[in-house]
Symmetry: C3
Subunit: 344 residues, 3 copies
């Protein structure tokens, strides 16, 4: 429970109306009830403002005059809504201190006010920053560093020599620093493992989804930029480099040595892999379920998926697709014949 005034202070806004009104939860502008705070950022929802039942609305100065209830005026209402939602997050915290069942190597360094839960392991020479929160069963190998205020949820694994920045959130069961996939075959010698001698470096404010895997580099490190956000079950191969603020949706996977620029958006289920290293420039958006097999050097939206249809219709079209080149050649032949006919 917060007052509107407390919320406004948290999101750097000012209140038009009664700062003391109490807010117990968050609602949508068209369905919120008394005691809830809503926000107006999408213009399509402006029609609901006049009749909203919310006790307060977060909005921009230009919408304030139309607000029938307490207004919290900000520059960016959607971002302010996100920050407000964080206030209402009641997730349990690991208590400050080290749980008696955790196993911390004697040479590890723990910062101030760390929170370390049951059955956590921390390896030799690892540095755990101030206020870092580590949930039960997380495993941190040797030579790692974790920046201040970062949170590791249950069952997270950091292999050895992994460096994570400040304010990151590593979600349940993600694995950072498993071996990259590299084998040498030559003559009759097959699948000899190439040791993966690099590590992983993760910037600040990075989120890593549940069960996501980020492999360690072969010689150099795999690098994740600042403010990168990754959803669940993403796979990042060895020596990938992901630019700042790029978003990677669930189940996307990329092979080794893929470089992605800044401010990109990689859709769900996308695959990125080529014969050699690939590079996507800044501000590239790749639609869900697209396969990217060549580099992309111009910002823009790229797609390559197919559209579903009824099975009987699809079956005919899919078979035809495997004759498409022949169809092209046939049409070219018909075109020549028509040209001759027209010339007669």
């Amino acid at each position: 429970m917060y007052t509107v005034g407390q919320i406004a202070d948290h999101i750097d806004g000012y209140v038009v109306g009664n700062r003391s009104v109490k807010i117990s939860s968050i609602g949508s502008i068209h369905s919120a009830n008394s005691g809830q705070i809503a926000h107006l950022s999408n213009p399509q929802y402006r029609q609901y403002l006049a009749s909203t039942n919310a006790s307060a609305v977060i909005l921009t100065e230009s919408d304030q005059a139309q607000c029938p209830t307490v207004a919290v005026v900000v520059d960016h209402p959607y971002v302010a809504y996100a920050k407000t939602s964080q206030l209402f997050d009641k997730r349990p915290r690991v208590p400050i201190g080290v749980h008696e069942t955790a196993f911390i190597d004697a040479s590890a360094n723990l910062g101030e006010d760390v929170r370390i839960g049951p059955f956590v392991t921390v390896g030799a020479e690892s540095n755990i920053g101030d206020r870092v929160e580590i949930f039960d069963h997380a495993s941190i190998g040797g030579g790692c560093s974790i920046g201040a205020d970062t949170v590791l949820k249950s069952h997270v694994t950091l292999s050895h020599d992994i460096h994570v920045g400040d304010r990151c959130l590593l979600m349940e069961g993600c694995v950072i620093g498993s071996n990259g996939f590299g084998y040498a075959s030559e003559g009759n010698q097959r699948n000899e493992p190439i040791a993966q001698l690099g590590g992983v470096r993760i910037g600040n404010d990075v989120d890593v989804g549940a069960k996501t895997t980020i492999d360690r580099g072969a010689l150099e490190d795999t690098v994740i930029g600042n403010l990168v956000k990754m959803d669940d079950q993403v796979h990042i191969g060895h020596n990938c480099q992901i630019g700042d603020r790029t978003i990677i949706c669930g189940c996307a996977g990329m092979a080794g040595s893929v470089t992605i620029g800044k401010d990109c958006m990689i859709g769900g289920g996308v695959g990125i892999a080529g014969d050699g290293p690939l590079e996507l420039t800044d501000m590239v958006y790749v639609s869900a379920m697209t396969f990217v097999s060549r580099s992309i050097d111009k910002p823009g939206i790229y797609s390559g998926h197919t559209l579903h249809s009824s099975n009987s219709k699809w079956r005919r079209n899919a078979i035809r697709l495997n004759d498409l080149d022949a169809l092209h050649k046939k049409v070219d032949r018909l075109e020549r014949q028509i040209k001759e006919l027209l010339a007669e």
Copy 2:
């Protein structure tokens, strides 16, 4: 080792022949040996009945007369076979009681005859139902409830405020209740996390595969209906709703706010994601590796995958696919020219 009579009682069938015959394992009707029980449900296997070496066969009344050995007559032989197979499952059980290394919060409630293995954690205010079996290293956050007779295998993670019904089976390493993937970007403010304040509610008799992830909702809960069966490495985004009895095969993934009806079948590797919330009605079957980007409002089978061919052939066709619209336009032009020629 069971007698045919014991098996018949377990599957609500009646025996024609000697109830005392001993059965040590399960076989297929065409390859079973003495001491094995087989079943006949698929008509294509009826040809093997007369010559089967099985010591007993589960079948329907109409096939009983042709059975050369002891018959167990039931209405649904395939379901009866499934129930019989459960009798022969020799999987190790966690012993009744709480393992000495488990860490159970003092405010948690444990039902009768619970089985809790090594290194399990149970958070504050969580309720563990009667006869629930929790394997080693499972992590149950605060405020969760688990219904009677549910089994959690090793390394399962339930985040906080997760509700699981009765008789569910959560397989190794699945994660229920990780954060949904939601960020606000506006102006120069980028990727501000939206707190995920909802939980996850899972019905009765639900199976969740190994490494499957089901995200918690943003404001409302993510909801999984009764008798839903999910394979390994499935991903369910925040606020999805999955209808009763729907089956989701391995590696399928769906974005947030996807609603799937009852009795659907989602094939392996399928992706479901659109610009906004999507809805699939009841009894929709989606073929493996299909991308569904629009809602489906009629029951039926839907597909969208491509068919493999030799690489050299595929390369030509795939390139042509990216010229398909031009080909269409060319054919339209040729059609007009032919029309003119025919009109002359």
Copy 3:
């Protein structure tokens, strides 16, 4: 730090030049510095040999004369490079012995010089081979066997009755032996689980990637051959059989009862699933993101993915694809009309 002589002995090569030169790390032939060892296996890099700054180069006899520095002559330089990289792997080892927090069933057998980390569980009647190394939080069920020199990284799960060969590497969080996905539906009886009574057998020198899942068989075992290498987030359904030396890249998934031959290469994100059991013969290469829905009986390269393009272009082509059969029929009609016109 090794001398060139020590490295040459490790990779069965001979030195031309000073065996005492000290090597501190590995570099690429075109960018290596003094103190580094490089290798020459790809002919495209031969141009860099004369001017390399590496202190030593691994190469074949035929390239030795052109080497400006110490040469290590071997038959297979790429494989020799892989073996050299292993020398420089400084990954932390679990100490010999059983960590005090590990929970080993009294009936389990431990070989000589095993290394068992914190919070590991080993179930009843399981056999752990000599020098096996098991990282923290790994879970080994009952009735398992693990061959000599195999390594299990953190959070690996072996369910019960799983057999793993010698010198395998099971990466973080993989799950071997979760239930296969099998349910019986008949009449109004829905989704009755079929018990998965088989196990999993894994050969020698097999690598399993992080978060990869290999399901146990229904009646028979799921079988992985020798020297098979699997990347992260691969899924292998029940009763699959994978031939020796086959490589499976990240995020590939296969349904139950898929048989893959020897020396195959399955690309990233590939899906393999059909109406019934599928079989791929030896030496089949499947390109990334291809869906294989029919058996393949000839060695070769197979593809089925689509190529990305700009979104506006793709949208037109993807819609046309769902009219492709109609286009074929139209072209056939035009062809007949032209034939008539030409016959006039």
